[in-house]
Each structure stands twice: as C-alpha cells, then as structure tokens.
Assembly symmetry: D4
Homo-oligomer: 252 residues x 8
C-alpha cells in the first residue's frame, strides 16, 4: 500500500477479473514482508527505497540476527549490513551465514558480494578516537557502492592538518564529518566545501561533552550552509545518506 | 587561501614576476571580502560554494542589513535572501534596495531577479502552525532555482492526508519535512520515499515540546534511513541543503 | 485508505464496473478531507474516531479558525471545540459562526448544540491556579456528552480537603487529576480510586517547577497503578481521553 | 480510612455498642495491611482497586520478595505479578512459592491460577528490541484476565507493516503502543484507531535517545487524541491500565 | 480526619448519642474548611500546623485574593500573608481588607496586628539584587513573631564583608542564606555557624545561571552540614521554616 | 579566625605581651586542624559546630579513612560516622580502629561509644527500596543522640498505611521523609505534621525518575510549608539536620 | 581580614598601645567597605585585587547605581565600569555623576579619566550579532589600560576571513574569542595562537542554541590548549581577565 | 599555512627560483605533521604554540600511544605528557619508550628530561577526592617548567583551612582551583587573590552533582573577577593554561 503504482496495478487486475477484491485486499496486507515472529523482515525495501538491507544488531540475540540475515540471503539479498554487533555475536552468526566482520566499527557484512566504487565521498574525523563511528560510515558507503576517502585526525585545533588535505575535500560529492567534543569540524568543513556535509556527533569526550550532546548541539548550530546532522554515533545513517546523495542522478 | 587553485595561480604569478611576494601575501589576506566595519561581506562565496547569498537578519539593525545588501547588490548579486527580518526593518531596507518581502516567514529577497525551477523538492508540514518555517524553506529553495511543491497540514495523526499525497512525494528528488510537537512526520515520510529527507523541527507546540526539543530529538532518533536534521526552525538551512541535493550533477 | 472496509467496498465497486480504477484511486486520495490551502479539514474523523471535532487555535489566525469552523459547520458538525483561542480572536470568530466562549480556559464551542451527560467523570485540581487547564478538560468532557464533577483546590498539602470529597471520587468512572508544582495529587488519587486516572501536569508554579516539568516527572513516576499522563497543560487531551473511557461499552 | 463505607459501617458499630471508640480507632489504624518490617503488605488492594496484586521486584532481595509473595499467597491471592526480577532471584523465590517465570520481560507469576481472556487488547511495538517491555505489558494484561494480540516490529519507518495489520487494531478496545527511539508509533496508531491508546516509551536506542527521553517527549506531544503515556519501560503500568479500560462496564 | 484526637472525640460523641453516625461522617467531611467555589479556605491550619495563614497570590485574581482574605479575617485570622501579589492587585485588595503592602518583595499583610519578636533569625544575601526574595523571607519571619537581622550584600567574592558580620551570625538560632549565581553563600555560612541554615537559591543572574538552577544545584551539593534547600525564589518557605526552627520548644 | 571570641582573646594576649604579633598570626593560621597531607583533619569542628565528626568515605582509600579516623580517635572523638564506605574498605578499617559497620546503608561508626536518645525524630520512607538512605539518616541521628522511630514503606499510593501511623508522626519534633520516584511523601507528610520536615529524594526508580531528579524536583516544589530538601540520597545530611532541629534549646 | 599584612600591622598597633584590642576588632570589621544599606561598597578592592571598580547594573535601580558610583567617586575612584545598564537608567545616573555611556554594550564609564593602552589584546567575534558582548569586553579592557584590536565577524564558516587576519592574532598577548551558535571560533583561534584564549559564549542564535548553552558546551570541550571559558554573555569578565593576563609582570 | 612568516618565506623562495610553485604548494600541504595512519602527529606545535607535547590517552590503544610517543621522541621531544592512560596501557608503553607514570592522575611522562621551576602556581582542592584531577594539573604545570604549591582539602565548608593558607595564595602568579560538588572554592579564592584563577570543576560528588555539572555551573557563575573555567576533570587544560599565564613575559 506504500506505492501508488502498486495500488493502481492491483485495481486493474481486479477490474480485469484476474483477482477478486478479497484476494486483492489480502495481497495488499500480506505481500511486503515475511513475519519471523520476533521480526517482520522487509524484502521490498531495497526496491522501494533503493537501499542496501541493514540489520540493527543492538538488542537482538545472535540467533535472531542470524535468522533475519538467512531469510534475506535466501531471497537473494547481498552485502547485508549488520550494525552494532559484538565480537561474540559475530562468531555465532558466522557459523550460519557468510560474514565479513570488522571489529573497530563492530560491523558485519553478511553475504558479501561484488560492489562498485562510484563518485566520491570523504569521511573526515576530528580525532583518532572517532574512528569506530567513522569506519561504520565509510564501510556503509563502500558496501553501498561508493568510493570513499578517509581523512582521520584532522580536527580544527590543528587547522593546518585540515587545510593540507583540501584536495580530496574539494573533489568530494558529499562529506561525512565525524567529531566529538566541540564538534567544530562540521562547521569548518562546511565553510570550505560546496557539497552537502553530513555531520555525525560522537560520544567521544568527557565531562561537559555529556555523551555527545555538546558536539550534537554545536553541529545543529553550525553557521555553515549545507550541513545537516544525524544521531550521535550514527555512522550507518551518515554513510547511507551520503551514498544517496553521491548517487543522485543528474537533472534532465 | 580557501582554495588550492587560487593559491597555485598566485604562486605562478609570483614566479612570473607579475606580482611581488609581499603583494601576493597582501592579496591572500585582502581579497575575499569587503569589510564594512560591523560585517565582513563575502562576495566570493557564491563562487566558492555555488550558493545564493544570504543575510541572517536577526541581531542586525535595519541599517546594517541595508548596508550589506547594497554592497552585495553593487557587486552584481541578485536574489539575496534576508532571513528573520521583521516587518519594520523590511520597510527601512526597502527604502534603499529593491526588496520582495514575505511576512509569514519574515523573509526578504533583495534585488529579486529571474530564476529557474529545476528538479523537484517537496516541502511538507505536520500542521498549519508550521507554515512560517516551511515557507522559509520553500522560498529559499525557489530563490535558488528549484521547483517546489508544498504539502501543508499532512501530520501523522491523520495518516490518510499524507497517504493521499503520495504522488508528489514519490516524484521528489528531496523532501523537506517540517514538524513540531512529536516530529513523527520525518520518520513516516522517510519510510515512504527513496530520496534524502531533510527534517526541520519547529518550536510549534507547548508544554513538553520544550521549544522544539521534543521534535528535534524525535527526528534525530528517526529509524528511517536517509533522514538528517537541521536546527529547530531553520527553514533556510533546510531549503539550502535541499537545493544542493536537488541540483546534484549525475555521476559520469 | 485508513479503513479496510472502505477499501473493500471500493474494490467491489471497481469490480462491479461502477467505478474505474483511476477514479477509485482518485477517491482514495481525495475523499477524507477538504483542503482549505492553509489546512486540510477532516470531516470523517468523527466517524472514524468517534470523536467531537476540535480545532487547535494556537498559531492560527482568527480568520483561519473561522474558516475551518464554518467549513465544519456546513457539513453538519456541532459542538466544535476551539482550544487556546484568545479573547480577541474569539470576538472575530463569533462574527461569522455561532460561538460559546469561556475566557478562563480560553476555549470556544462553535455551533453549540444539545448534549447528553452520561456516566461520571471527576476533574480534580491541586490548587485554584490550575483552574484554566481543569476547565478545558471539564468542558471538553461535557461537550462530548459526559457528566462532570469538579473538585478544585484539593491539593495534598491539605489532605483533609481531598479526603472530605471521597464520595464523588468513589463513584467516578474516570478521574482527571490536574496539578502543577509537585504533582502529587495524581499519586494520591490513584491510590484511592479503582478507575483509570488521567494525570495532567500544569505549568503552574515557579522556580524549580520548570514550566511544569517537575509535575510531569512526578506524575510519570507515580507508584499508583492505573495512572497515565498527558502533555503539560493539555486539558483537552485529558478530557477527550476521559470521555472515551467513560463511554466504553460493556464487554459482551 | 480509605473508603467512606468502611467508616460509616464502623461508626454504626460504635453506636450499636458492638465496638468501643478506642477499638474503632485501633481498627481504623491496623486493618488494611500486614507489617513484615521491611514492607507493609496490602491485602485489601484487590478489593479496593479491583486489581491483581503486584510486587515491584527491583531493589528487593529474593528473600524479601519470597516473603511478601508467601504472605499474599496465604491470604488466598493468586496470579501475583512480580516485576523486574532477575533470573537468580527467581530461582530463589521458586524454592518457596509456586512461580511461573518469563526471562525476556524478567517477570514472575506467583501462585499462578486460572484466568479469563476478556475483551481485546493489542500490544504493538516499533521494533524487535522493544519486546521485553511489550511482554511485561502483555503478560500483565493476560494475568489480569484479558485477551491480548501481539503486533511486534510494526514501526512507522516501514508503514506498510503497520497498515497490513489494521484488522486487530480496529477491533481492539485498548491499544498499548510500545516504542523507543522517536516513539512515532503512538501518534500513528492514535490517528488510526478509535479506542484509548496507552503509550509506553522504551529506553531502546542510543545517542540522542537519552535513555528513552526522546520517545517519552514525542509521545507526550502526540497530536493524536486519546493517547496517554506511562513511565519509560513501564510495561506493567500500561498492561494494568489497559486491563482497567478493557474491562470497563457499560453505561446503564 | 487529619488528627486522631478529632476522630476519637467524634467517635465518643457518636457513642454518647450526641451525634448520629451520618452527621459524624458529614462533620468529618465538612468541618475543616470553607468552600468559596474557586478555593477551599482552610481555617484550622493555624491550629493544626501552628502557622500564620498565607495566600499564594500568583495565578489568583485580585477579587479571589480579597475574597479569601476577607473570609479569613471574619474568622479572626490576623497577619495574613499574601505572597507574589502585584501592585495593582494590592490596590484592589486594599479597598476591601486592611492591608500593609511592601512593593520590593511584592508581599501584603492583611489584617495586620501585633506581633512578637522572639529568638533570632539572620537573613543574609549574596548581593543587592537578591533583596526581593530576602525581604519575603524576612517579613514572613517577622509576621510570624520572630526577631530578624538582615545582612545584605555579603557574597563570598568579598569574603571580608561576611567575616565582618560574624557577630549576628554567631548568635542566630537559624540563618536564611539567599543567593543567586553560584550560590556559594550557603556553603560558607554553613561552615561558620552551628545552627540550621535554610538556603534559598534565587533566579538572579544571567547566562549559565539558568534561572536559578545553578544556585539551586550548588546549594544542594553544599558540603556544609546543617544546610537544606527550598525552591528557587521561595522566600516565604524559608522564612516559614526558619520561624518553625527558631520557635522550637526545648527538650524536657 | 572563624570565631570573633578567639580573635578578641588573642588580641588581648598580644596586648598583655603574652604573645608576640608574629606568634599570634601563626596561631591564627595553624591551630584549627591537623594536616595529614591528603586531608586536613578538623578537630575543633565538634566544638565550633556542636557536631559529631563525620568522614565522607567515597573517593577515599581504606588507608586514608583509617588514618583520619585514627587521628580523630587519638584526640578523643567518639562515635565517628564514616559514610559511603564499602564492605571491603570497612574490613580494612576495622583492623586498625574499633568499628561498628552496617552494610545496608554502607555506614561505619568508628570508636563507638555511649549515646543518649533525646527528643523524637521520625524517619519515613515511601518504599522498601528507600531503606539504605533512610538507615543512613536514622543511624546518623541515633549516633548524634536522638530517639528515632522508623516508618518504612508508607508511600502515598496506599494512603491508609501512612494514615494508620499518625501517632508517631504527630509526636515527632522533626520528620525525615525519604522517597524516590514521584517523591510525594514529603508533601503529604508536610501537610499533616506541624514540625519541620527534611525531605530526602532517593535515586530509587527507573525511566523518567532520572536518578532521583524527579523526586528532587517534586520535593522542591512541595506546596506544604515547613519542608526543605537535601541532596539526592543524602541520608547523612538529613539525619544531621534533623538532630540539630530536634536538639534546639527552647527560647528563654 | 582578607590580607595577612593588614592583620599583622594591626596586631603591631595593638602591641604598641596605639589601638585597643576592642578598637582593633572593630576596625577589622568596619574598615573595608561602606554600608549604603542596599549595598556594601568596597573601596579597598582596587588595592586588594589591582582591579578597576565595577558596578553590576542589572537588578539595581538607577538611584542605587548613582548612589554607589557617587560614593566611589568621592573616594577618588576613576573609570568606574557600570555593566548591563539600560539607556533610561543611564540618563538618570548621568544627572548626578559624570558618565560616558555606550548603548550597544549597555555599558557606562563613570568618572571617566585618563588611561594607558598597554600590551595587546585581540577581541574577535564569530558574527555581527556578537558585537554587544564583544564591546563590553573590549571597553572593559580599554578602561583597564590595555590596547585592544577588534576583529569582528570572522566566524569559522568563512575561514578565509579569519586567516586573513592572522597578523593581529599572532602579536596578541591574550585573545578574547566571542561567539554564539556553535562556538567553534574559540577552538580554531586556540589552535592558531600561542597566548591564552578567553572564550565567551554568547546567547546569539535560535533553536538548539538554547540561549548560549550550545556555544558554552562547545567552548568547554575545545580540544585547543590554552583556552578557558567565562559565563554566557560575560564580556566584562573576559575583558577583566584578559587585562590581568596582558598586564602580567615578567618572571624575575 | 598557519603562520604568515612561513608563507612569506616560501613565496620569496618561489620568486628566487629556489622552489617551483608546485613544490611550494606541496610543502605548504605536507610539512607540519607526520601521518601515522591512525593519527597525524604534529611536531611543529611546540614551536608554533610554545607548548609541551601532549598525547590524549583515552580512546587510543597502548600500541597507538607508544607509536605516537616514539615518533615524537625521535624528533627530539622531551617531557611528553600522556593523559588518561590506565595502568595496563602504561606498562605496555613503558616497554618501548622511557616513561615516568603516576597512577593517581593516570598520567605518564614519556622521555622525561630536565625541567625548570619558574614563577609560582598554586593548585588548590576542595577535598581529598579531587586529588586525581589536581595532580594532573600540578604535574602538567611542573613538566612545563613551573614551580607548583599544592593546597589540598581546603574547601569552603571549613573556611579556616583556606584562610590559614593565605601566604602561598598571595604570592601565586596563577591559582588553579579544583573542586566538585558545589564548586564554591573558585569564588572564594577568586575574591581573595589578585591573579588569574583557573577553575576546574570535578565529577566528584553524588546525586544532584550530576557528574560535575553542579560545580561547572557554579564556577561559570562565579561573581569573582579574574576567574575562568575549563572542562569538568580537565586538570591538563588547567595546568597548561596556568603555565602559559605564569610564564608570560613582562610588558616592554
């Protein structure tokens, strides 16, 4: 029921007598996902949203993760991202589905397959400690078929480190700016480049960083145009959005 | 100093003896803006960032706004946005520069000129009260040359109003979702469309909406992929970013 | 599209050739509301949700309110609640639609008509200053056809005032507990009665009441079973819910 | 002293000389509970509030829990809920009282007995991770004699999963909407159904979900009428209230 | 019903046939206050709590205040405090009841009468701007019959001003420490004296004082023993409590 | 330098030639405490403030605690309270100083000695889980020579449990009200008794209790006169203040 | 009593019989300030702290300000700063004391006199709207005898404007960085210069700037070494501290 | 690119033909740091900012720390501070670089070398528990060549302990005031001394100290002039800034 073309097509089938109204209603209700009991797995999303499939690992058991991934794999999904999955869960999952696991961003890629490297996304961080979030963003973007350049540890307190890396920034179609503490990286990058900047506050810091709140507020208040913000530590969301933007088709 | 090509060009001019090192240094320091005392007006930004010029009106006197706009106009800027400018200030400004003023979003367009209507951006709101912010977004996008469809008062508490407007949503290259109170519009829209969604929390509401904090947090936590968030009531920022995304060139 | 019976009926009409698929799709999209431009007025809601119509007055001009009310009145709606409408707006609205306006809760009843007084709802307040919110709740419930008893100024700091009014409390089918400051009224009432208690925190207070936050948190933490909470100062929401509960049909 | 009928009855007994004033006062003070030292166990509550008995397990030792449950059981209580009790405590308690323990919601049912399945309550969740809270609500409602339908993982980011389950929603007498992160489920459900909706924010999420605060604020700001909110993760409270509402007697 | 002696007395009257059980129940319910409709005026409180009567003026109309004060005056109450009453309301009230009004603390004393000046309370402030709150505390204490010494503008940033006033501090039976901004006065005074210190945070300050929150938190965290805190700007509460403490009877 | 009598006495000694000005200055600086390096132990405090000695155990090593206690014991201090000391630290401390350790409130009494039981303090709690804080308050008061009555688990959701215990409340000279969650106990008790009430919010609860913030705000906003508040979980501070108030001498 | 040399001198005077102990005590208590009733004016502070005198104007009447300024002027104070004084109050004050008033920072200089222009302080702002706070800082520093360079509107979103002004930054002995919104200016400046940076968050901004909280948190989290922060909008405090640092004497 | 002299020099070299424009651009970009992959190590900072090198240990592996320290050591850096490094990491690091590790402040000094003890800095704490942060500040200052006096446990609740230590305070060129809980130490010290005070809030405390927020707010609101604040627990930042101030050269 999420797409007017589907509804129209179904109505025509009813009109043509190819399907009864009751069956049509049933179809409207049953088609778009498989119900595993603990989860309703959505196979049409890649079609409907043009997106790679993703399983949010936190709060799910290894068994549930493996079950969902297997169901997706059976339907032909490849390069399925599993975020926020601990090392132990990954070992369990790897026993039943092919898995490429990265421990720093705690990210798995189930049923890994071939991928392209389109366009150009830069993922930049303020410091070394922001790497786990940045890697989640970078790998998400790579899995979704984008070319990614990593610029780590280019925080604004040593401005020359950032200015010395203008070249990749200037050629990017989208920049993901990952920073904790005062989160100024997004503003400075946003003032330098002429493409969209996706800012990711991280929970890196102590004291008045309040678990990433300080960076989040700073990024939301950025005076630079073209910036927008995702949730604290949400590397996946930033990588996903950057991919969407990078892969925009041109205007006719 | 913000662009490696500029630096390189200048270095070549020095090498060629066309300019002295001292003059080059001077140029590096003086070129990119005009200093009005109370403001450093940046004329290269439209080149550097590909952006329409904008003057943030809040906290500036009518005289300061008029002065900045006039200086920009002299350099050939057209369609200069002036945000958060009250009716009285607008009357003063209109005495010295040509001004198209809209009272609902408190937005002026100085030196209004011709513009295109490229691509397709949808600006949707949860309720009637979100209109001032939505209009700031829509006008910003229009001034920057984009085609905009307005879908106002389609909040999720009456889901059929949103579902009845799937057509424009499905053809949009970017959606700006403007909502106060519980801010659920962004999540629902984000789950329906396959283009980037820029969420704008508004300060509309009372009690536990805490001046837009409730909508802001909800939008940051949206489970829908492809969403990002700008500051509370920041219609300009959302319209600007939506324009950037809408006008992306295609991958080669 | 909000009701499976509607969809089924429409599908049968398509099947029967009484309507074309294109028209059916159109109907699905256009039927449930009238678009006034600034608002999408929902006439089916009273059917769909069994509710009195309500117009949230804050952030709307007097003209917009009058326009929406008139459109509803034309369709036959009666006893239309208009909340958070100032005295001046009320005078404007009253020029074009019949209006019963109450200044303490800043509430109007457009097209006032006959109503019943079913069951029994108690609206209690901690202090005199909570009256505007309490009256919004009480009038909402009365307009929706319920019998309401008001117990004002029975805050827990003078427990005997509450205990002296056990009789109406004991016979209520639902109690609305309205209190600012420390919000203890909800807990104490919740411990005394055996019917649902709808707690409404108010912004009454000063200092560490933080605009109703203190009462809100206290009510959410109430150890009494059967309590739930609505937004700060949301008298309408509480009266509406109390009416729903009071008018529940019995189990077969 | 909590019930005027009790007082009146006692006064008549005094008048009739059946009891002395001193004894009456004593009775007023001693009757309604048993004092275990660490807890004052309330046996009249099931009468006074028509409620199943409940023991809040957090912050109590296994010994204290077992002691309270045993005292209740001796007085004839059945189906006693014990919430927030860890696996280890449950094993200790099970040694002295009959116990049906569920590990996902960390809930025990002491002295389990027969129960009815009246009316119809739907418990819906936004995601798989909200299950522990949802199960606490569902089991509470079931233990209190209600028929419960579970709709898990129907969050608004995949709206079709919710819309495909309209049937049970439409026949419910009360819906418990359980969601973390942006908490939009309550608003969307509240806009679809015409029965009371009890919203339960959960602490599921990360970053700017701030332990459930984001979902809590969103639910409090819900524009849908008929919604009210309980404390974060308070599945018991929601199930209890839903049971109260579901089992309302009809108006005469 | 608030006092066991009252209940016992009433029970004896029932037993003696001097009153019927029905009348006794009625008396239990009607005695302790007069119901003005908008307020339930409590005349027994001065007996029950040994307190001067007080009317909280904020959120009440001048007419309501005058009505409550007149009802109290008729019953013989004297020195009735009216807090948070603006100048205009005071003029209205003064037309119907004798009133001694102080504009700095916005405090009225209705039916002013003779009073004692027992014991010794010190009211100290950090700065000149804290005077309105301090005067509310000092006048409350004076009206309740206490001797009060004012030590204003003795904030800790000029420690010698405080140390030069040790004499009254050392002889006080209770100190009220009133301070905004960083609220350090309470800690320093608490470390100097050996009597209870009642700390009153004020909303004086700007920026990160957040309306008194900063002073409130500092006072709650005071390392000095014997300190306790009342609400921000609650001069009345502090004066009332200081009077209670100052007038404690000695141990037998 | 903390007492004007000391200064005057010293000045006279200088005048009399009994001490030189330099020695006087030295004395002013060195007398009031012993410097252990990691702590400056204050032996005059019991004289200056009339207080039992106390060692705040959190953040100190067992060795540091033992060292401070031993130094105090050598000077003749008895009944030294050690708060927030874990079981392990207690075992270490007990090896070098006589120690009476209570595990529930995590409180030690070093060099325990005889004590009186003057006056009457009631310590009441809302629930069983508030016991650790309540015991810290009760033991502090007992160690300081006061008679204490414990009323545990008398929270307002079962009001009859509180009303059945009016007798000790009515005879108390000071009540310590300990409660988490919605903290309503303080308001209700404050409205019943005519002596000072010291409210102690506890961190007991979950969700929107936010670690005791909810109870803290509720208690600060209490409408009952005579209430004041100490820090969250600060049983020691409440017991200390209650003792001060209970042991007030009568007015001459 | 604030200075050991004063105490020592006084003790010698007592010893020499030049003053009696009673008089000495009196002097210790009365000397350092004049008591105007509403304020204790401190004349020794300029000696004790080496500071210009300052009167915090907010919360004081024009009459009180004039009274304090006059008292200071009589004792020979010159260049007395009066902060946060409105235009109207300034006109009143100017009638009785010589006053140099600046309306943008709402700052008055009473008894203006000659001053030096030592060293070099830079005051930089992120935007034009930060000027009121920046001018308060700059004028404070100038009144205290420092040379000040203003660099306004050099926010990080247009980095070239800042980089084009490196010269004054590099020669400064202290930089005051004034910025609202995301407050990134302090971090970037802190990473460029090798002198202390005093960061002043301003309340400039909207939405998630939360009255300066966002800039405050960002500045506190600055990764640049040598930065420290004063209260939101506290231009005076920053100018005062910058003056202290600029005028440090060299090490011997 | 951070220093105009460097740019000028480079431009002259280009002019002289000693370097090509391309090489110059390269140099501008590559010179100031070494890229280790996970970190960009900045060797010019000691020159550019006159600072000791520092490695922020939190969020880095022992291997990363050792790698950075080794790279610095090779370039001749000495006395490299490593902050927030646990005992285990220190043992690993010590295997490859010479390391002086202090466990209380969790601070390492790599390649320890000779140092001076210039000027005079006082580091004061409110209590014993603030020592870890204070030691981080004191050691940082000592490593940077300053003389440091420690005044621990001089909190304002026992004011005489502070007043007895006026001598070192009066001779300090800069004071670092370290305190948790109510943070009043900074205000009191700021009112006593005439040199800059760097306030460090600590996370010491419980309940309403909210992890140092209470002390932070109090310090930001300090009424004492000359105070500024660094992040909660940021001993390093305070020691670094104090060193900068202490080592200021005198004005010519």
């Amino acid at each position: 029921m999420d797409n007017k073309h589907d509804i129209l097509e179904l109505l025509w089938a009813v009109k043509a007598g190819e399907t009864t109204p009751e069956d049509a209603l049933l179809e409207l209700k049953q088609k778009p996902f498989e119900d595993l009991g603990y989860a309703k797995v959505d196979f049409h999303r890649s079609v409907r949203q043009g997106a790679a499939e993703v399983i949010y690992g936190a709060g799910k058991t290894a068994g549930q993760i493996a079950g969902i991934a297997a169901a997706m794999g059976e339907r032909g999904c490849r390069n399925i991202l599993i975020t926020r999955m601990g090392e132990e869960a990954a070992q369990v999952v790897a026993q039943s589905v092919p898995l490429d696991y990265r421990s720093i961003p705690r990210l798995g890629i189930a049923f890994p397959g071939e991928r392209t490297a389109l366009g150009h996304i830069v993922v930049a961080t303020g410091g070394t400690s922001d790497m786990p979030v940045a890697e989640e963003a970078a790998l998400t973007a790579e899995v979704m078929g984008n070319k990614v350049t990593r610029l780590y540890d280019v925080g604004v307190a040593g401005l020359h480190r950032l200015l010395s890396n203008l070249e990749p920034l200037m050629s990017a179609r989208c920049v993901v700016a990952v920073a904790g503490m005062e989160g100024a990286l997004a503003s400075v990058v946003g003032g330098l480049v002429d493409c969209p900047v996706v800012a990711v506050p991280t929970s890196v810091g102590y004291g008045a960083s309040f678990g990433g709140l300080s960076a989040l507020l700073a990024m939301l208040n950025s005076c630079a145009s073209g910036c927008s913000v995702v949730n604290i530590d949400n590397g996946f969301g930033a990588g996903y959005l950057a991919s969407m933007i990078n892969q925009m088709e041109g205007l006719q």
